[in-house]
């Protein structure tokens, strides 16, 4: 099961050669400058996750970073718990190619599930080693020792010895022991508790430094002048008007890459609008009004059956009823509230980039290829940006900053404007899904067939190319980091079931992952379709799921949710007949078929006159195994719900034949306070199970819960996300009168 999980993303090798090092060297923080500190980060040789100093302070070097999800607080809890030191004795250095091990990008709900388990293993090995040392020092059997706040002593009492004293002036190198005893969860005092987030107070008082706030002496400010059309060529430009702006320094041009640089930020912004650039005409985008015809027509690079049971083609033939439905989901932008920003410094043949990327260790070799440098000449240091929810513009902006810095030989800060982020971040691609089923004469699902149309994975494409490489015509590193977990499908046992993926060779915009990539789309379709079958067979939505589940935890979650939401079968609830129709919808998933269980009951009100859908309330039941921080988990679940209600009801990228046209919040609206639902959460904690991710799973069940509630309220099926009023009114018009 874990193998399937690990194969999703390339960097997840765990265990084995991890090395835990204790040193008394001063803690190394993220130094400002290109100097490469002498600290090993190679997890196969001398990777160091932990350091303990002479005051007993612990430093965690985490390759996973804080993207606003609370991950660093959770990883700090895990470290403190497993080492048996107070929480406030652990500080964290995160995401630095010179200081932290490569734990893979911070994505896919894996920070705790994979990163946390690696760190826990390192800390457990450390504690075990310290106990060995203490046993010798105190002449007490290891089993008779206890640790309290980083001090080891005999359980019977007497003098103790601190971690700092045990390490002494030595550097101990210890291979991580995959079977180092883990603390019994019943003894936990830090893991499982709602420790307040480490970063929140500074964010509340305005003392926090986002990457946007990061400064270097002598730093210049840059703005991009991105092309007028996606594939337009820069024919000529003139910066004559810019030269009248006090503080203007120069333009930087490489092929179709054009940027302006100034001594202050406002001058750079003025220059970016004052510059005169002539771009070639380009109109290679499909017609948005016929986007899904384009998707359906697109050539498939590969057609692959990714879930299969029985003989679906044969089972589709026979008596009973055939149901068919097509679902589609619009293109989304990541929509970070803070546009991407990075600071780069090129000096003495070395490049340092302060970047909000999810993936410092992936950006480093990409920059190396782009700039013709060696990876070891480049240091990427993570500094928090605005929430990204996937691969937003952070990496592209960082690479553009690097290119400008190399050109200038001076430190430079590049911040994207709003239209850069909305227009040029890689997009969540449009998704089309066809479903069909045969219901036999007894009302059973005899066959279930589904087809998914998505862009092929970058592994088989040209990789995700940095925008700067495309614009400047520089070499781009190919990397096979998949956008989607191919582990899609349905969480139900059906005798004949098939999911065929059509991996498309083309898609309008560079695709990248956005929270719950492909899983949200696939879950929307299969949970909607199951609801359609339930309606046709007059089966309660809970009952039809229970009937096709054997998974004990899944069934327990379903029952918990039914009670939590006080669900009553439709038959006992009259449908509203006025303009406002209220309804409830259910959706369930076992995420990516291998981990976190989530179910949602959505309560909605549909205005039949205006077509507006209002989500009133969401009841969420959630089982991600061992909970590290219940309040952090609730925060994540609430965020998943509200963000995905926004994607479900409102968000839709618009574009002309030449370029993105939804370049601000007016043209790409998102959910606002008046329309935010109440969120009620039932957490199922399983302290003795492994911890699974929670950053994405809830997202996957939101659109279908709403769609099913709209049907429950009105009898109309909405199959096209977002459910904007026009879509809803069309569905209402098409619905049979009830």
């Amino acid at each position: 099961m874990l193998d399937a999980q690990l194969s999703r993303r390339a960097f997840l090798k765990t265990g084995g050669a991890l090395v835990v090092t204790f040193t008394l060297a001063p803690r190394m923080g993220p130094a400002h400058g290109a100097a490469q500190p002498q600290k090993s980060v190679d997890p196969n040789e001398v990777a160091s996750f932990l350091a303990i100093d002479d005051k007993g302070m612990v430093t965690l070097y985490s390759g996973k970073v804080e993207l606003g999800t609370g991950a660093i607080t959770a990883l700090t809890q895990i470290t403190a718990e497993e080492l048996s030191v107070p929480f406030d004795r652990v500080t964290t250095v995160q995401g630095d190619t010179a200081l932290t091990p490569n734990q893979g990008p911070t994505y896919a709900s894996l920070s705790v599930q994979v990163g946390g388990v690696q760190i826990r293993r390192a800390a457990a090995t450390a504690r075990d080693t310290l106990l060995d040392l203490a046993a010798r020092r105190l002449n007490v059997a290891k089993g008779d020792l206890a640790i309290r706040a980083g001090v080891v002593s005999a359980k019977t009492g007497g003098d103790g010895v601190s971690y700092a004293q045990l390490v002494g002036d030595r550097t101990l190198t210890v291979k991580a022991n995959p079977s180092a005893p883990l603390k019994d969860p019943k003894d936990y005092t830090i893991v499982g508790t709602p420790v307040p987030r480490l970063d929140i107070p500074a964010k509340i008082f305005g003392t926090f430094s986002f990457v946007h706030d990061f400064k270097l002496p002598g730093m210049l400010h840059a703005r991009m002048v991105h092309p007028a059309a996606v594939g337009a060529k820069l024919q000529s430009f003139s910066d004559a008007a810019c030269r009248k702006i006090p503080g203007y320094v120069r333009a930087v041009r490489k092929g179709n890459f054009l940027a302006v640089v100034a001594t202050n930020e406002w001058a750079a912004i003025r220059a970016s609008t004052a510059i005169s650039a002539t771009w070639s005409a380009w109109a290679g985008l499909p017609d948005q009004a016929r986007l899904f015809e384009y998707v359906r027509r697109s050539k498939a690079a590969k057609v692959e059956v990714i879930q299969s049971a029985g003989d679906t083609a044969a089972a589709m033939k026979g008596g009973g009823t055939i149901l068919r439905a097509t679902y589609d989901l619009a293109i989304n932008t990541h929509g970070s509230i803070g546009p991407s920003c990075a600071v780069a410094d090129f000096s003495d043949g070395r490049l340092t980039v302060w970047t909000p990327t999810q993936a410092c260790h992936l950006l480093q070799p990409q920059l190396a290829v782009m700039l013709g440098m060696k990876p070891e000449q480049i240091r990427c240091i993570f500094v928090e940006g605005a929430g990204c929810y996937g691969r937003n513009g952070a990496d592209d902006c960082s690479a553009e900053a690097a290119l400008i810095a190399k050109e200038l030989g001076r430190p430079v800060r590049l911040q994207w404007m709003r239209e850069d982020e909305h227009g040029w971040d890689p997009k969540c691609p449009p998704t089309l899904l066809d479903f069909s089923a045969r219901i036999d004469e007894q009302g059973r699902i005899a066959a279930w067939d589904s087809d998914l149309f998505l862009p092929e994975q970058p592994a088989t494409r040209s990789g995700i190319t940095l925008l700067a490489c495309s614009l400047a015509g520089l070499p781009a590193m190919k990397f096979g980091d998949p956008i989607y977990n191919p582990q899609l499908g349905i969480p139900y046992i059906l005798p004949n079931n098939r999911l065929t993926a059509h991996w498309l060779a083309e898609t309008p915009f560079p695709p990248a992952w956005l929270r719950s990539p492909a899983a949200m789309q696939n879950t929307f379709a299969h949970e909607s379709f199951l609801d359609e079958i339930a309606a046709v067979t007059r089966t309660d939505p809970f009952e039809i799921r229970i009937r096709h589940l054997t998974d004990r935890r899944g069934l327990e979650l379903i029952e918990r949710l039914r009670a939590f939401a006080k669900w009553e079968p439709r038959g006992s609830r009259a449908r509203d007949s006025g303009a406002l129709a209220r309804g409830r919808g259910l959706s369930y998933v076992k995420y990516e078929a291998v981990r976190t269980y989530v179910g949602i009951v959505a309560d909605v009100t549909v205005n039949r006159t205006t077509g507006k859908v209002k989500v009133d309330r969401m009841f969420v039941a959630h089982d991600c195994g061992q909970i590290i921080n219940p309040d952090g988990l609730r925060n994540q679940i609430e965020g998943n719900v509200v963000q995905t209600v926004s994607r479900t009801l409102v968000e839709k990228l618009t574009f002309s034949r030449s370029a993105v046209t939804s370049l601000d919040w007016g043209s790409y609206p998102i959910l606002t306070f008046p329309d935010v639902p109440e969120v009620a959460i039932d957490l199922i904690d399983r302290p003795n199970e492994v911890p699974w991710g929670a950053g994405e799973p809830t997202t996957s069940v939101v659109p279908s819960a709403i769609a099913n509630a709209v049907f429950d309220a009105t009898g109309a099926r909405v199959r096209s996300v977002p459910f904007r009023p026009a879509t809803v009114l069309a569905a209402l018009a098409a619905a049979p009168r009830s």
Binding site: R197, K203, P246, G387, E638
Partner: protein
Amino acid sequence: MSITIKLTVNGTPRSLDVDDPEMPLLYALRDQLGLHGMHFGCGLAQCGACTVHYDGEALRSCVMPISAVAGANIVTLEGLGTAEKPHPVQQAFIDEQAAQCGYCINGMIMQAAAFLAQNKNPTEDQVRQALAQNLCKCGTHVRILRAVMRAAKQMS
């Protein structure tokens, strides 16, 4: 050809030399005064990340020309309260752990503080309306609402 603008920021009189009277206040605060509670979000007064108080009212600093705030009394998130002496809204945001990435939170706090100064005991619907022009993409809204309602109780 710079001009000098005088204004008060967080209680301190300031005199700023600016090249362009049209430069938005945001850049004076961030780049000249080194404050960074407020952030650039859109430059269009659509999201609220740049909000400060202008004579006690919430103001989108990303579109307000510096020349238009000469003589004004500006308060930023840093001036609203501190860890040692938090404003009730700041304390409520900590108590409710009302942040995810935190980039929008400046605007949420400044907007809410200005609203609560004028509106005692608001209903939740009134708070939702008061924050309707402040955007959050992380989906922290339910916590932000709880925090503002908590602060409202404190302040009434």
